[in-house]
């Protein structure tokens, strides 16, 4: 800002500014080269970004040999690959595991974390800001530092290879608490006051007034948490040990780590793994992005 101001007062700056005024905003230098470079850069970036998706689709129709040899056009192996996948993997079971873990995690996380986020914003207490600051500080604790003791804890509680071991540590999501506290700043206090005059208890206000009013916040948070848990890898890799408990993500990873991985089969499984989050993204793009940005506002 101050640089701009300095620039304006700088007498030497007046000269190029006069030239710019003469040339006008659509001077030749800007219009000819600038946009061309811009569109080349953007098109290249868009192409590189989208290409692996195309590669994945093409891969589902090719044999593993063709894929690793770089064949980048559609073949006729789709049904063979799909058949092999169904033979090698108990697809309904694995899909059930993925959906079950993601859905239960999402519902529990939203409930616990939105309650906390709401309370941190609505109720005043002398420790409120201190506790909240401590929570935010914990956002920077890397999971790598927790996984060893968490694993030992789960082992001694007999929870290895269970859904609970995956779900429990994810429920109190500090980021989501923070997100709900931020969103609650826009929640009209008059609604709460009116509900209190009507004699509603605090939990009734939360359930019947807050939750319906904040539904777009809930929708955005649902997308974040669902995507996060659907795609979770390291912790399930540690805790889930038998094939019948594995998620989609773990399944593609273990297909991939075979001595000679069958990439045709893997591509079909990868499409299935990617599809739910991709569908959510295209259906609810605005909410998806809003949820992601929630923390910066």
């Amino acid at each position: 800002m101050s640089d701009v101001a300095a620039h304006r007062l700088d007498p030497e700056a007046a000269e190029p500014s006069a030239r710019a005024a003469l040339r006008g905003p659509d001077g030749p230098g800007r219009d000819m080269i600038g946009p061309a470079v811009k569109y080349i850069v953007l098109s290249l970036a868009a192409f590189v970004s989208v290409f692996p998706f195309f590669w994945m689709l093409v891969g589902t129709t090719n044999s593993s040999y063709d894929i690793v040899r770089g064949k980048a056009w559609f073949g006729d192996q789709l049904l063979v690959n799909l058949g092999n996948l169904i033979e090698q993997v108990d697809l309904p079971r694995v899909l059930f595991n993925s959906f079950y873990i993601a859905i239960i995690s999402t519902v529990a996380t939203l409930l616990v974390s939105s309650l906390a986020g709401y309370a941190f914003e609505i109720f005043r207490h002398k420790w409120r800001e201190r506790i909240f600051a401590a929570l935010l500080l914990m956002l920077s604790i890397p999971f790598a530092a927790l996984m060893v003791p968490l694993f030992v804890m789960m082992a001694s509680a007999g929870l290895i290879n269970t859904y609970s071991a995956i779900i429990l540590p994810t429920i109190a999501n500090i980021f989501i608490i923070f997100y709900f506290r931020q969103a609650t700043k826009a929640f009209p206090h008059e609604l709460r006051d009116a509900a209190k005059i009507d004699g509603l208890k605090e939990w009734q206000i939360f359930l019947r007034v807050y939750m319906p009013v904040m539904r777009s916040t809930y929708a955005a948070a649902t997308i974040i948490v669902f995507t996060l848990t659907w795609n979770n890898y390291l912790w399930p890799l540690i805790v889930l040990q038998t094939n019948d408990m594995k998620t989609m993500v773990l399944t593609i990873s273990s297909l991939n780590s075979a001595y000679t991985p069958d990439f045709g089969v893997i591509m079909v499984a990868t499409v299935i793994t990617t599809l739910p989050t991709l569908i959510i993204f295209f259906l609810l793009q605005r909410l998806f992005v809003q949820g992601m940005l929630g923390s910066v506002k």
Partner: protein
Amino acid sequence: MAQTRLGRAENRAGWAFVMPALVLVGIFMIYPILWSLWMSLQTGRGMTTSFGGLANIQRLFADPIFLTALSNTMIFLAIQVPIMIMLALVFAVMLNDPKTKFRGLFRTAIFLPAVTSLVAYSILFKSIFSNDGLATTIVTFFGGPEISWLGEPFWAKVVIILAITWRWTGYNMIFYLAALQNIDRSIYEAARIDGVPARAQFFRITIPMLKPVILFTTIISTIGTLQLFDEVQNITQGGPSNATLTLSQYIFNLTFRFMPSYGYAATVSYVIVVLVAVLSVIQFWIARDRK
């Protein structure tokens, strides 16, 4: 100060609402992080451990695999994060210009990688960069050398960096786009009238205005890269000869692949905690407001 009855009731409700989250954070974050500190003072393998004081820290400096994992992680961090943030900024500025056509299309395309699971995209990259694979075909088509992408330590690192950049550039770009929308257009208008060239506008206006967001994204990228695991595990498995092994992967191997040495693994994990803290402080210090 006497509290009203209403005040006490609110207090009770407040605590009741916050408590489930606080209890869970206590059990699954505070307790493990403290326990891991205690573990790091123990030596030995499996269940037979004894108090070793700072022995594990000494072991760190004499452990060539740890030092390799540390330097790999720092190389990924130092090269990948700046490249990605620069690219994301450039794309964001281009897409923020109302004169740019197809903005929505470009934005969606560039953001799309952020929707994929880390494991899924890693596998796609592994298959693209396989021996005699697509990447090799393209490079040799343009007259380049035949590279064994995942077989050579240098190129394996390059593939990992390319992969992470592909996955996260669009994600960071969205943060910058949102922040750019909050900058008052009249600033650029004034700069344009005064003949400030586009490049100077970028460095003198855009970057300073975006400083808080750049700081935020740098810190989350740093934390993310220090914990890099999914990509290396699925693209290179840490190879060739540990050239892409990361700290997280080493902790994983120490705990779950070899005979578990929890104490030492916990010590390595505290290295990540310390790095996150130190790098965050440094980044805050660099981005501080200078008078």
